[in-house]
Amino acid sequence: MNGDWFLSWISGAILYAAPLLYPTVGEVLGQRTGMVNLGLEGLMLLGASTSFALSVRLGNPWVAVFLGAGVGLLANLIYAFLVVKRNASQLATGLALMFFGLGVSALLGKPYVGQMAAALPKYPLLGPRSLLFRYDLLVYVAFLLAALAWVFLFRTRWGLQLRAVGENPAHAYAAGISPARVRLAAACVVGFLAGLGGAQLALGVTQTWSEGMTAGRGFIAIALVIFSRWNPLRAIVGAILFGGAVVLQLQLQARGIGISPFFLDMFPYVLTLFVLLLWGRGVRHTAPASLGRVYFGTEERGG
């Protein structure tokens, strides 16, 4: 193994980390308000298929990417409405949303399987001659976004209010915050970022569309949220780790090493499980205390 190999591995890891980082950072914000969204996978697929289709049609990847993210946002409004306004179960709603996204994206993307779309332009990090470390703008933005999300969460008034809602909506309400409004806003961000992650995956990384192409990244993102202990900066580490595992597996397959490709395909996911196993032992008060709970408002508390 030489240095070149290592550099190309790092380079690839960063590329594959970006589309994971978007949904992960979004979900960190969402879970910090107390909402678990198992529909991320569906949202990513919707973002990926619509943006891919639009890019083929319109020829402008940027417009396509943002419309794809917008579709993610719109789709997540279903989740937001059911969970926040109708007090529906977060888990059931999320799973339903996942299947909804899976189906609709397959339908929308069907005509575009195997087609070429206008991809996002790349900007080399190490000067024009190097083939490595050439990324589209959204890769750079992903890392910037994670840092900004950290500042937002831990250094701004709104971040503080958001965390308060996730810890105890009734107490946040007593402090003059509207938990419903905060959760609705957070759900919009989750939808937009998940859609953006999917769009970036389709137009920046794979540059093709195929059914179910996110391959569980929406669920990996949820695992990474736990791994990151609800901290966007640690999410960067998690995303690179998983991205690195994917790339390693691709590299090994390309070298034709005598391991079953099925095992290699499994590797990133096994790694994720393994990391959760080691890391899952939570420190007190890291997970938002109201995570997954329905908030009925003040009056019905007695029931």
Binding site: R155, T156, A170, I177, H285, P288, T298, E299, G302, G303
Partner: protein, 505 residues
Amino acid sequence: MDKSPVLRAEGITKRFPGVVANNRVNFDVHAGEIHALLGENGAGKSTLVKILYGFYQPDSGTISLDGRPTPIRSPREARGHGIGLVFQGFTLIPALTVAENVALFLSKLDWYISPKKLAAQIQEASRRYGLELEPKTPVWQLSVGQQQRVELLKLLLTRARVLIFDEPSKVLAPHEVDTLFGIFRDLRNDGYSLVFITHKLREALTCADRITVLRQGQVAGSLNAQDASEEKLVELMFGEPLKEVATRERGSKFGKPILELVDICTRAVGTTPALRQVSLTVHEGEIVGVAGVSGNGQRELGDVILGLIKPTTGKKIFLSQEATAWPPARMIGQGVAFVPEDPLAMAVVPWFSVLENVALLSPKRFSLYGGLGMAWDKARAVARAGFERLGLNPLPERARAASLSGGNLQRLVLVRELSRDYKLVVGLYPTRGLDVRSANAVRQAFLQARAAGKGVLLISEDLSELFALSDRIVVMLRGQIVGEVRPDQTSLTEVGRMMVGVGHG
């Protein structure tokens, strides 16, 4: 006073499933007035102030501010109108730091929060009001008394003009209560209006200008403090005078030791104090009092006894068996009744009903067909008998624990713990939040336990309570036992001094 009141509530009615918590209540506060709100547990005091703060909406009735009818639809609106409330069960968020909890309440907070600046600001403010606090500590590490200080600070910094406090003195040490009332008087003289709820009649009589008493959701009377007396207030609260309180018979015939702690040390977590070389013995038929300002290791002491935390060194012996490593289940099973500092967080499942919570700790006792069913009738009978023995009105069995009033919740925990077959009862501030009559009933129950040869460890900040009940009082300061006295050989002031670390006995 001929000025119109700052805040006036008229004909407020609020129903909850099965109770009318407020029944056509009239209440008002003037500028530059301290108004005390009294009433027995469950009388509807907290409900009333939550309505004034917009946390609950009244079923009927109006609220006027400066003479103008103003509906208050949410706490946010209340704060906009300059009304602030410190809740009875706190509204602090354990995972956030002291500074962050306070910041949540600051109306004029910059959008960017600099932790350093915020900490300095809060440190400065806490010093100004004589409330010692460490801004960067996460709130879950604080004792209940410290949490109360954070709540106070929160409200003082919002600069509301009507400040409402739901039982502010409940968890404060005597000297802190003095500080608090000093702050109240200063604010009143600056023209603020203050409302506070209390169960201590003396506090209402000494600090308030006006006193309103609620009974079963209705105003039983409202009078100026000069015209009030303890007897009058008791009469208004309960409709009858208090019964004589039995006192402890002197003379000690202790039996064998029940609990022995030998040189217990624990690890400090964050800023919570570690226990250092704590040795303590409770005998059969003995009440041992632990005096101290809360946050000096009392909670840790309780946790060690119950087995929630393991000591780093030292030994715990329970009923002559080495019990240092016993988990809570075993301690409870072997006969420890435990009344924790914060019942809602540690003693009950909030969304379980009263009955389910009663049955919670003795599933075996109430199980049918080898655990396949529950003998609810039996649990019901035990609960009823428990309330009766304490001379308290039974609570509605189906009410969820979270919906109980603060005092009723404390009653529930006490009744459950004292109905079990126990050998040692550890009570952390057991009469906190209870009205005068229930507090007396509980003290009575402790004396009965003593007479029946059980051991009692009574952790309290209320020195007169400790003096009335204890055979022996140890004083805790910064995780250590700094003195041991007999109530008949010392004075309240002496022990008070030891509690804050001045002088030594």
